[in-house]
Symmetry: none
Subunit: 418 residues, 2 copies
């Protein structure tokens, strides 16, 4: 082939992937980022921590692709052998990099961690390779072009470190290489309270469209539509997206809660901040999950006052003032108790709004009338209390029930605040 | 090479994987099953719905492996081209299989589904291929040996169908081929409070061992060692693992908190259950994360009474009885306040033990003396209160600081209970 090569591929290195110990979430994440950058990507490979098989995989990639993105094997232990194997594959000597060593030393010192054997190895990179800095961890990566028209990027396997390095250094570098087929822009619309197939049916004509494309994804309760457009420049691509986004939002109505990095928690916090109002939570089966979702958003402290995790009934009485006769008559998992929890939290914490959750997350504790998966949600506010009963069923397990409860509780408040 | 080939590899076919739309959970599942069967497995590959690239990947596999396990591309739509591409790769004609067609027709009829265009295609298999029946869906797979010492197994991409076919037909077939290198067993030891490189240094000789092998993995604060042994049967493999596990536990001491599916939360709950004692939490910067981790464990309600999410200082005063002058003098993020929170939670919720967390998760709110990443942890119990100051730094962000705080808080209690 005489045309210049443009394709990328992904090589994930780690015996734990071959043993099925962990899901390859890095390959998926990088694939999504490459699509966002408009970079064609034709293959993903996984090999174990084995120098011969790693070398074979690298040489195959060097024969067909322009960019190879590697993850894993950059740690200090003996089975971390990505860098040395890459150097050996292209017969280039390793070099000690003082700036990498200084960075590792500073990070270990600031965390009060000793310098372990093997750390020195992490400062070795092939001659001619550029450092791909790791802003958060000690394993630096590299951007290395060992032969014309073939560049290797290396990342550690720890997802948070890989992602930070990607955003800070790798993505800007990739964008400058002129490998993209046009400029791609995308917009992710986020939906709650509607199933993937129902939403797909409602927006069916858009799913056939070519530019922009519209693709649905489903997660835990949340459904997403990704609108992706390709054009000569960002502004033209955005101009293709805007009318489609407007039409999709009109079709979906209040089911669409946000876009891109929004979460139900960030949207609710934003709604309350604009009203200058405060929030408290009262959680039974979610056990702190609603609070954790809200406080995951930085700056949540100007809206969220706090909450009560009322797992035992006595805590519902003592800290949330739920009447004991109500608990005895209706049971802890009931509309009346969820509403009393929300009102009690609002009163005791002195907030404008309160969210309450009480349910049966299972696997034990279900009865014929109150089965596993039954959850009562309530929102108390300045003008009274609203409640919602959900029956999630028991087939998908405890985490699923708790995750949907957190989302539905936040969504119930969001709809009150619209 | 004259030795008979024994290796397996996995090829997942689907453009949605290259676009990052879905996680490759099939590769992980099959990898785990292969390890369970004792079948060596050295590579995983993903290609899109593209006949040339699929052919290249198949030919490469045919040159190095004994068995190729393919998933995806068996449906009725035009982009489902796995079977026809495999046949074309080995230049073998496709044959209509009446028994497959009859099965498809019966399944569609029983579900009241019409026969869609493309369904006929699903009854075509290469000459000489055996049907790999699909007990639940319409997409049959095959077991085909197109050349000596190379067999291809095909499965649809839908996980539930692939798994049913695996258990019913593929796993028994694979077991009969005499490819297994004995039976593999593994044990995952879990550690907290020690870095991956420090632990690796302490157990260095074991990382060189061949049977069992010992491999380290690092996550968010947690470090793991996987011990994997191969022997003629499960009992012999377990007997190889047991002494190594004992020695590793002795070396690591109290840093080893559990094995396999244990979590810090499940271990702490178990310790308290054995003592017949109860627990409460008081959370500031984790905002419910400690409670959520504990209640993620089913059956936690017999130990965990509940807790207070005390995000605002007023909640620390009102619900946890932290003295206002202490808050003013020491600040909310201080050893004294964390201890007062733990003691207040223990008193107010009437528990035997209480965990408290107060810190600065950032990105805002840091000062020179109290930087982002500073967290004070406390555990109050029947014999008094213990505290721990941690400085996580600000480089890894809010989620990391909160996640480590949850783990360190649970670990502080675990160490008290040993």
């Amino acid at each position: 082939m005489s045309a210049p090569r443009t394709g990328c591929e992904i090589l994930c290195i780690g015996t734990e992937l071959l043993l099925g110990n962990i899901l390859n979430s890095n390959a998926r994440w990088i694939a999504e980022e490459l699509a966002r950058l408009g970079l064609p990507h034709f293959r993903q490979t996984v090999v174990g921590d084995n120098p011969e098989r790693l070398r074979d995989a690298v040489l195959e990639a060097a024969g067909r692709s322009r960019v190879l993105i590697c993850t894993g094997g950059l740690g200090p232990t003996p089975d971390d052998l990505t860098t040395e194997t890459l150097a050996a594959t292209f017969q280039v000597p390793l070099q000690h990099r003082a700036e990498v060593m200084a960075d590792i030393t500073a990070k270990l010192q600031s965390r009060g961690r000793p310098m372990a054997a093997g750390t020195e190895k992490q400062a070795l990179l092939p001659q001619g390779a550029d450092v791909l800095p790791n802003p958060t961890g000690t394993a630096a990566g590299m951007i290395w072009t060992p032969q014309p028209d073939f560049t290797v990027l290396t990342f550690p396997g720890v997802p948070s470190e890989m992602r930070a390095m990607w955003h800070q250094s790798a993505a800007p570098w990739l964008q400058q290489q002129g490998l993209a087929r046009g400029t791609f822009r995308s917009r992710l619309l986020r939906f709650w309270g509607i199933g993937e197939s129902t939403l797909a049916e409602q927006v069916a004509p858009y799913l056939e469209s070519r530019n922009p494309t519209v693709a649905p994804y489903a997660g835990l309760g949340e459904v997403k539509l990704r609108i992706t457009a390709c054009a000569d420049d960002s502004a033209s691509a955005d101009a293709l997206i805007a009318p489609v986004e407007r039409e999709l939002r009109t079709i979906a109505g209040s089911h669409c809660f946000g876009a891109d990095s929004d979460s139900l928690a960030s949207v609710v916090l934003c709604q309350l901040r604009q009203r200058n109002e405060t929030l408290a939570v009262a959680e039974s089966c979610t056990g702190g999950g609603v609070g954790a979702a809200l406080t995951a958003v930085s700056g949540s402290s100007d809206v969220l006052l706090g909450g009560v995790i009322a797992y035992a009934n006595r805590i519902k009485q003592d800290l949330l003032e739920v009447p004991v006769d109500l608990l005895e008559r209706e049971g802890a998992v009931s509309q009346a108790v969820a509403m009393a929890m929300a009102e009690g939290a609002r009163r005791r914490l002195g907030s404008d709004w309160a969210i309450a959750v009480s349910g049966i997350a299972g696997p034990g504790g279900g009865t014929p009338t109150k089965p596993v998966g039954l959850v009562h949600l309530a929102v108390a506010g300045p003008e009274g209390c609203t409640s919602l009963e959900r029956r999630y069923g028991d087939s998908r397990g405890r985490d699923w029930i708790r995750g949907l409860s957190v989302g539905d509780a936040l969504n119930l408040l969001r709809l009150q605040l619209i």
